[in-house]
Symmetry: C2
Subunit: 319 residues, 2 copies
């Protein structure tokens, strides 16, 4: 299924999924203090408190890929921090400390950099996180911002991509698609919602939607036990206004930064009721975890069934 | 002394020192769990163990700035990890966990990336550190590698840039200058030496030499109390073979990744003796911490005294 790539394969031939598989094989399996290594939203580490885990994640934002040169630096900073906060949310945790590496052209205005930092700080502060260090370097071409976060989570509340069980309901927060029209720079990472969820319900598996529902469903399936499949109903997918009615946009656009999770269906009624009393954000049940040889299946309004291939944003396979 | 930069100042007008000052003012002073924030080799954090601190650092490596496109990817990976290990060494700590963000061109060979990772892993493993996560993204032009490290240090052994005392001896490990001729890709971060030092002697202030002795002495002075100056003796500076007898190279070249530290002079004889029994690496006393209005003074063989301005590598002020 995952053949060894050809000797002279290039990054674009492997795509992001293939590349990460290759790098995991170089690094080897996690050992000792590492509970979850490469391949989830955060690494999970055993620290000194037996009741808690440390969460650890980093995420690069590059000019021309994640933002345009003409975008507001404050929004670029917000996005660079919020993407990482969203990864902490996916594990059910709270963010604590951030460090920031930035690559800058020499002719960039100092004011642009200060605004970038103001955006980074605003997103961090909103969720109780402190920027504690960083480094800057020169670049000739595209600028970049790499934020790294340390978070914490109670061991009993930690969620990962790998816990989906046959029979689970699949739910998603918010509405999907069209994020590139603006939301990708201003979105709210779902820290508060995730904390409430893991504090009140036994969530089995969770991920944040960064590369598109189709890609991130694929990630959940690949992290699940063999023989598990996900079935989703096309008519149930919540489509954002910015997606202008396009189901394809909701499935594949990416950068939604909503939460996708699975939970025992017996909890869904209570969850919906309590959620509605707590948040105005939408919460939608979109499908079921099933016993299946097909990884992800999308069921049409007419009952038609099709495999849903990951077609979200791939940094390398798309141009 | 540090005037507010002009409204339209660019990054190159501020230089790296000026830019970091600006960003510190945006971020504000460290609070709560943060013992040391922006401005040392690592951030220092209070975790759950009252006897230990967490260390936290990140450092970007960019093609065309820190390495050439033609350099061996395994050495590039080694360097990207070792630079960060060197920052942990400067605080007297041990490295624990690394995450890696890389920006790759689509036409880069998968083999190049695997070799890069092999170098990252080799440097990490040599010092008991695990790579636990990372992310990749596309770039169009220069590739980059950002490594972030979490380390640990006993509270009683933690060293920072700020503890220099009047009367201290100033010592440096190894030999300096000419690193760009090769050492910068293959150097050994001084983790073992630093751990031995903080375990056996009361080190007052420590830094790793990344941007050149002149720049890093300036950093130590700026982190010290007002009224403290550093005097170094030109004739005592250990010049590396690759610097070909050039004192200027030893003072300013940068990327030596040796340790520079201060200690009560009464310990120096015992330190030298025990050091020589433990390491083959050179250890040289190069000067004294004094009461002075001049920040760093270099004393010539003829007794002449000159202020030593930081003239090491600046990512922005140099081209």
């Amino acid at each position: 299924m995952n053949p060894t790539p050809k000797k002279n394969a290039r990054v674009r031939d492997l795509g992001e999924f293939g590349l990460i598989r290759e790098l995991r094989s170089v690094i080897g399996p996690p050992r000792g203090s590492v509970v979850v290594g490469i391949g989830d939203d955060c690494a999970v580490l055993r620290g000194d408190d037996p009741d808690k885990y440390l969460l650890y994640t980093c995420d690069p934002v590059v000019e021309g890929v994640h933002y345009r040169r003409s975008d507001q630096p404050r929004q670029v900073g917000w996005k660079a921090m919020a993407r990482n906060l969203s990864d902490i949310a996916a594990m059910g945790g709270v963010p604590r400390w951030a460090v920031v590496s930035i690559g800058l052209r020499r002719d960039t205005r100092a004011r642009w950099v200060k605004e970038l930092y103001a955006g980074l700080r605003a997103a961090a502060r909103k969720f109780g996180c402190q920027i504690v260090g960083g480094d800057t370097t020169q670049v000739k071409h595209e600028q970049f911002v790499v934020v790294t976060l340390i978070g914490e989570v109670e061991r009993s509340r930690m969620t990962s991509r790998s816990g989906a069980k046959v029979g689970d309901s699949i739910l998603v927060t918010g509405k999907l698609g069209g994020s590139r029209r603006g939301k990708h720079l201003t979105f709210t990472p779902r820290i508060n919602e995730a904390r409430w969820l893991v504090g009140n319900f036994p969530v089995h598996a969770m991920i944040d939607l960064s590369d598109g529902l189709s890609s991130d469903l694929q990630r959940l399936v690949e992290a699940s036990r063999p023989g598990i499949g996900f079935e989703i109903h096309a008519a149930e997918i919540p489509i954002a206004r910015a997606a202008r009615g396009s189901l394809a946009a909701a499935l594949h656009d990416g950068e939604d930064f909503e939460l996708l999770f699975t939970i025992d269906p017996r909890h869904v009624t209570a969850l919906r009721k309590q959620w509605a009393r707590t948040f105005t954000l939408e919460l939608t049940e979109i499908g079921r975890v099933v016993r299946s040889r097909e990884q992800v299946t999308i069921i049409g309004a007419d009952g038609s069934r099709k495999p849903l291939a990951p077609a979200g944003y791939d940094h390398f396979a798309t141009s």
